[in-house]
Symmetry: C2
Subunit: 362 residues, 2 copies
C-alpha cells in the first residue's frame, strides 16, 4: 500500500519501530505467553517496565533528583484541575498566562478553585501576525501560588521558545505538545505535565514531573487519583495504571534514546519545521499567520489565499497518503502536526505535494 | 510454547480472538495505513468505533434509553471520588455498605466529601465462613443521597448475587469485577461503574452507566473530567479519551455478542466456578473460607491446609502454564480469577493440576 504520513495533531503518529515491536509481542510479551496488557501492574515483570520507562524519561529530560516523575490517568485536562488542587494550598490566586485555546481551557478549570490572575500574553507584531509577548513583559502578580502557561498552542501553531526565569516563583507548564521535542531545563519548573498522545505514546496516560518540595499541599477535596503526593508515595500505582500505554510510552523513550536523545530531536524538528515554513513562505499561495519568533515547530497551520481550494487540497493529499491535514475546527484551513515521530521524508512529501498543488492551481 | 492460562485478578486475560485481531491490525487499522491509536478521536473513523462500542454494550446489558453510557479515564478509584461529587448535591450523607477491601476504599474516598453512613454488611455463618448479610438486613438511613455497594470483592472472593430492590433509593454499584459476567437489571441502579481491566478490556478506561435524571447535580469542585454531565454532553470526548482502550473494549463487547451474550456468559461462568469450587471442596487439602451463597464466580481464593506448600504449588503451576495464582498480598494463599475470557479448559487444567498436586503432597 501507499506509504502513509499522518499529520494528526493528536492522537498522533508513533514511531513505526515502536508499533512494529508492539505488534510482534502483542500476544506473547517477554516470553510469558500473555500480552503485556494482561499482567498485573504489581508483578515484577511490569514493575520493571514501569521503572525502566521512568528511568529513560529521567535520563532523556535530565530530570534532577529532587523531582518525582508520575504516570497518571486522565490527560492534560485532568491536570487543569489537579494543578490548582495540588498547589494552591490556602492561597486563592495563581497567575495564568492566556496565550491561546489550551491555556484558556486551563484557566476555565482553575476558576473552580481560585481567582486566577489572567494575563493576556497574546499580541500582534508590526505585520499583523499573531505573536506572544516576551516573558519579561508578562504582568505577574506578587502573591500568586504559581505561574501557569502553555508553551505551545496546537490549534494556532503558536509557541513560546523562551525558557522561564521568574526567580523563585513556581512555574507550571503544560508541555503536552512539546515535551521531548528538544532539551529543556527542568530545574526552572515546579511542575511539568504532558498528555501522552502527541510526543510520548497513545492517549490515556499523562506524565507529571513535580518538584518534591511542592508535595504535601493538596486541598482536601482533591480526588486521590489526582493527588501528586499519593501518586508519588505509590510509584504511580495507587490504582491500576494504564499499563499498556505505559509500556508503549517506555518503548518511545527507548526509541528516542536510540535516535540520539533530545539534542538530535531538536535538530530534526528544526529541520522539518524550516522545510515546511519555507514551502509556505515561498509565495502568496500559502500563508501562516504567526510571527517568526512564535512559530511552532510541532504544529504548522497554513491557509491558502483561496480557501475554496481547501477541500481539493485535503482530498488530493489524502489520495497520496498525506493524511489528517485538516485544520482544527475552530481555526479552519490546514494544519500539519510534525511531532518527533514524523520523519523529514514525511515533511518532504508534503512540501513536494504543496509545490505541485500550487503549480496546478496557483 | 505451552498454552498459558492466566488467572490474574486484573489487569486480567482478554479473549485471545480479540488480541489476535488487534495484533493483525495494529499497524494498519481499517486499511488506513495507520494504527487505530494514531488517529483523531474526532475523526469519523474513530467516532464509529466509539459509537459501535457503546451500542454493543447497551445491547449486551439491555441498558434502558434513559441511561447514558460514559467511557472515562481514571479507573474505578476515580469513581470513588466522582460518585459523591456528582451525586451528593447539597446532601452531606450517603449510605456506604462495607463488604470488603474495595467497598472500604470507596468509603475512605467518600469521607472527603460527606459523612457516609457506613453499614457493616460482613458477617460469618454458622460454620464460621465469611458471609454478607442479606440486603433486607442492610441498615439504610432515611435521607442518604444514595446507597453504594460493591457486589464482588476480588480479594476475599465474596459476592452479593441479590439484585438491589430499595424502592426509590438511588443505588450505586461498583461492578468492576462482575460487569458483563451475567445479565443484570440496569433499571435497578442509578449509577453503575466498572474499571475495564477485568471483564471489559485493558486498564485505563472505565465504564459509567448513569440514569439521566441524576445528571446536573455536580458539586462545583468536581474536576470536569469526572463530571458525568460534561462527559454526557460531549459523548465522552470532553478530552481525548483513551482511544486504543476504547477500541479494544469495543472488540470485547463484539466478542461477547458472538459468544451468545450475557446469558451464555452466566452459564459458562457458573460452570467454571462450580468446577473449581468442587475441586476445592473435595477434600480438606484445599479450603475456601466463604459461605456458599457468597462465593464469587469471578475470584476464587483458596488456601491449603499446609500453607508451607504454597510456594511449591505456585512454582509447579507456573511451570505448566497456570500463572498468576498467588493470592492478594493482604490475603495470602492462592486465588484464581476466572473472568469471561477464561475458558472452561483453563479451569479444567487448574483443577487437574490441583488434584495431581494433592495426590503427590496430600
Amino acid at each position: 500500500m501507499t506509504q502513509v504520513y499522518n499529520f494528526s495533531a493528536g492522537p498522533a503518529m508513533m514511531p513505526v519501530e515502536v508499533l512494529r515491536r508492539a505488534e510482534q509481542e502483542l500476544c506473547n510479551w517477554n516470553g510469558l505467553g500473555t500480552s503485556v496488557m494482561e499482567i498485573s501492574h504489581r508483578g515484577k515483570e511490569f514493575m520493571q517496565v514501569a521503572a525502566q520507562a521512568e528511568q529513560d524519561l529521567r535520563s532523556l529530560l535530565k530530570v534532577p533528583e529532587n523531582y518525582k516523575i508520575l504516570f497518571c490517568h486522565g490527560g492534560a485536562r485532568a491536570q487543569f484541575a489537579a494543578v490548582p488542587l495540588n498547589l494552591l494550598g490556602d492561597n486563592n490566586s495563581a497567575d495564568y498566562m492566556d496565550g491561546g485555546y489550551w491555556a484558556h481551557s486551563a484557566i476555565n478549570e482553575a476558576q473552580k478553585y481560585c481567582t486566577p490572575n489572567i494575563v493576556d500574553i497574546k499580541t500582534t507584531d508590526d505585520n499583523g501576525l499573531q505573536a506572544i509577548k516576551p516573558m519579561r513583559d508578562w504582568a505577574l502578580s506578587d502573591n500568586a501560588a504559581y505561574v501557569h502557561y502553555c508553551p505551545n498552542e496546537t490549534i494556532d501553531g503558536i509557541a513560546i521558545d523562551e525558557e522561564p526565569d521568574f526567580g523563585d516563583k513556581i512555574v507550571v507548564a503544560d508541555l503536552s505538545s512539546t515535551i521531548l521535542s528538544r532539551p529543556i531545563d527542568v530545574s526552572r519548573y515546579g511542575v511539568i505535565y504532558a498528555g501522552a498522545q502527541k510526543n510520548i505514546g497513545p492517549a490515556g496516560i499523562t506524565v507529571v514531573i513535580v518538584r518534591e518540595d511542592l508535595l504535601g499541599k493538596a486541598r482536601q477535596e482533591l480526588p486521590s487519583i489526582l493527588d501528586y503526593t499519593v501518586l508519588a508515595e505509590n510509584d504511580s500505582m495507587f490504582n491500576t495504571p494504564p499499563t499498556f500505554a505505559w509500556y508503549l510510552s517506555g518503548m518511545v523513550f527507548k526509541w528516542l534514546k536510540e535516535q540520539g536523545g533530545l539534542v538530535e530531536m531538536e535538530k530534526r524538528n528544526k529541520a522539518k519545521a524550516d522545510l515546511l515554513y519555507s514551502a509556505i513562505d515561498r509565495s502568496d499561495f500559502y500563508r501562516n499567520g504567526v510571527a517568526l519568533q512564535n512559530r511552532s515547530r510541532m504544529n504548522v497551520p497554513f491557509q491558502m489565499a483561496n480557501p475554496a481550494l481547501d477541500p481539493l487540497f485535503l482530498q488530493e493529499a489524502k489520495a497520496i497518503g498525506l493524511v489528517a491535514l485538516k485544520g482544527h475546527r475552530v481555526a479552519g484551513g490546514m494544519r500539519a502536526s510534525i511531532y518527533n515521530a514524523m520523519s523529514i521524508d514525511g515533511v518532504k512529501a508534503l512540501t513536494d505535494f504543496m509545490a505541485d498543488f500550487e503549480r496546478r492551481h496557483g
